[in-house]
């Protein structure tokens, strides 16, 4: 690749020294980020492993009681995984909110929406929305 060759050509001993020092300084920052990721994932991995096992329990359940137990533990392990990764849920199931395209998927078949009902909560990490909440049109109030 020509660009790469060019940069190698320009490199002299002094520049190498500076770049080397810069790399030496920068390396631990990358390593700290990796270690933080490792720490954050270590516990999440355990919870995810539990979730996978409970998925098998769910699929192999012989009766409704066993299926319900597996689903309870699967949900708990998944929620645990999310917490360990710093994920939070957006909105409350069934709640009616003003439509916000950053946080909500538009309700299916709706041309425009002013308010929506949360059908499935979204997921965020800090301020970053990873998945918008799925919504549906608000339920009409039954006449008195």
């Amino acid at each position: 690749m020509p660009a790469k060759k060019k940069s190698v050509k320009r490199t002299n001993a002094s520049a190498m020294g500076k770049k080397g020092a810069a790399r030496k300084r920068a390396a631990p920052k990358a390593s700290l980020a990796n270690a933080l990721a490792e720490a954050a994932w270590a516990d999440a991995d355990k919870a995810l492993a539990e979730a996978l096992i409970e998925l098998d329990e769910f699929e192999n359940a012989r009766n409704e009681k066993a299926r319900e137990a597996a689903l309870t533990l699967l949900a708990q392990a998944l929620a645990q995984t999310a917490r360990k990764r710093g994920l939070t849920r957006i909105g409350m199931l069934g709640a009616q909110e003003a439509f916000d395209p950053q946080r909500h998927e538009p309700p299916p078949r709706a041309k425009s929406a002013k308010s929506v009902r949360i059908a499935a909560r979204g997921v965020a990490r800090g301020a970053e929305v990873l998945a918008r909440a799925r919504t549906e049109a608000p339920r009409r109030r039954s006449p008195r």
Binding site: R25, A69, T72, Q80, R125
Partner: protein, 440 residues
């Protein structure tokens, strides 16, 4: 080169350390938690607080716990919970007590010896981690965080702890990296080195920062504006502490009248949850069954508690049976009700003290933050979010500060922040927030 500060947090189960520059404008990229644990698995930032006296060797950290676990049938245990020991009313006397037979079957060591050995191991782990991080200079100011026990004399505690660190540093110089070996160190070598290190030791120049002040530091740092008063509710494993800090002239002062410490905290909740689960397991009739179930619940307790705090209920599969416990069950418990009532009264007292002081100052505002393992408990969050009837409003702050979500950490500091919070806050806090001691 700028001056850096390193703070050690002795958690009940783990030790943690973090470093930060003292004289630079705050930059999240300069917050450096130390990777104390070199084990390939597990959290690299958490060093197990444990010493195990084996037949011919002394083991530290994870090796100590693994060995103790393999010898549990012989009633052998590792020494842990150094924090509990440091809270003893007469610390010097507590340190001179011989370690119990279950910890030291040779009757060769007193508690002071074992703590000095652990601190030497911790200092060696810190030095290894510091040397691996080129951002942190070799010369660094040292601090440690401790709770401000009610009625405790910070200067007296600090003199003893600085002395222990001095002995530990002398011991580390003698034993070197052998302290970090998985197989630990030779018992006879340790027994010989300890008195020599004690003779050579000089008290270590270091600072003591109260955990509440460390929490205030990480909560308010990086903010353009933060409250003049901060109420800190810290529910750890052994104690729940409340403190009110007041900021004036860029200094943080504690309003001593507000401080409250309860002996009920995370361990108390663990017992309530396990007890409730045990009662619901009507099939567990024999003592052996109950003991085995209790042990299983206690091992799973951090996850159970996290689920209960977040979802209001927690479940556990045990021998193909499902055990359910709900937060409502716990809230019905008479002991819990009594604890909550006292907690609410103590918090109201803290608010009153903060408000009384705030009214004397211009532009005063009060904030509250929950820290420690119990920070996420709904009843703690309700406490700090509770509406106040009159006077300056109390604004709750999140347990994990906004800067912990900074992109420089790739989104990975926030999930582990609660575990590292006190070490980080202690490293970030200015010298004027120290309870005793100072920079080296």
């Amino acid at each position: 080169m700028s001056a850096w500060t390193l703070c050690i947090d002795f958690g009940t189960a783990f030790s943690k350390a973090a470093a930060a520059p003292s004289d630079l404008r705050f930059d999240p990229a300069n917050v450096r938690p130390l990777q104390l644990n070199p084990q390939p698995s597990g959290n690299p930032f958490l060093l197990d607080s444990a010493v195990f006296v084996d037949d011919a060797r002394i083991l530290f950290g994870r090796s100590a716990l693994d060995r103790a676990s393999s010898m549990a049938g012989r009633k052998r245990v590792a020494l842990q919970s150094f924090k509990t020991l440091l809270s003893a009313a007469d610390l010097e006397r507590a340190l001179d007590i011989k370690a119990p037979l279950s910890i030291d079957p040779h009757r060769a060591f007193c508690m002071r010896d074992l703590i000095v050995l652990y601190l030497a191991y911790l200092l060696a782990a810190i030095e290894r981690a510091r040397a691996a991080d080129a951002c942190i200079p070799a010369r660094i100011n040292l601090r440690y965080a401790a709770p401000a026990w009610q009625g405790g004399d910070s200067d007296a505690l600090h003199a003893v702890v600085a002395g222990l660190f001095g002995e530990a540093e002398a011991l580390r110089m003698r034993l070197g990296d052998a302290l970090l070996a998985d197989e630990g160190i030779d018992l006879a070598l340790a027994a010989t080195a300890l008195p020599r290190a004690a003779d050579e030791a000089r008290p270590r120049a270091m600072g003591l920062i109260h955990e509440a002040a460390a929490a205030a530091a990480y909560t308010s740092i990086g903010l353009d504006e933060s409250g003049s008063h901060l109420i800190v509710v810290d529910m750890g494993a052994g104690t729940t502490d409340m403190a009110v800090l007041m900021r004036a002239d860029h200094q943080m002062h504690e309003l001593a009248d507000a401080r409250v410490t309860f002996n009920q905290a995370g361990d108390f909740l663990d017992r309530l949850i396990a007890d409730r689960a045990l009662k619901s397991a009507s099939w567990a009739k024999s003592t052996a069954q109950k003991t085995a179930l209790w042990g299983d619940l206690m091992r799973a307790m951090p996850d159970l508690k996290a689920a209960m705090f977040a979802e209001g209920r927690a479940s556990r599969r045990y021998e193909r049976r499902l055990i359910n416990v709900s937060l409502r069950d716990i809230e019905r418990d008479q002991d819990f009700k009594a604890f909550l009532k006292e907690l609410q009264a103590a918090y109201a007292h803290c608010v009153a003290v903060a408000r009384g002081d705030a009214l004397l100052r211009e532009n005063a505002s009060i904030e509250a933050v929950a820290v420690g393992g119990g920070a996420g408990a709904p009843f703690i969050q309700e406490l700090i979010s509770g509406a106040t009837k009159r006077g300056p409003r109390v604004t709750p702050r999140p347990a994990t500060p906004g800067w912990a979500h900074s992109e420089v950490f790739g989104g990975n500091l926030a999930p582990v922040f609660p575990q590292l919070a006190i070490a980080i806050g202690g490293a970030l806090a200015p010298d004027n927030m120290l309870a005793a001691g100072g920079a080296a």
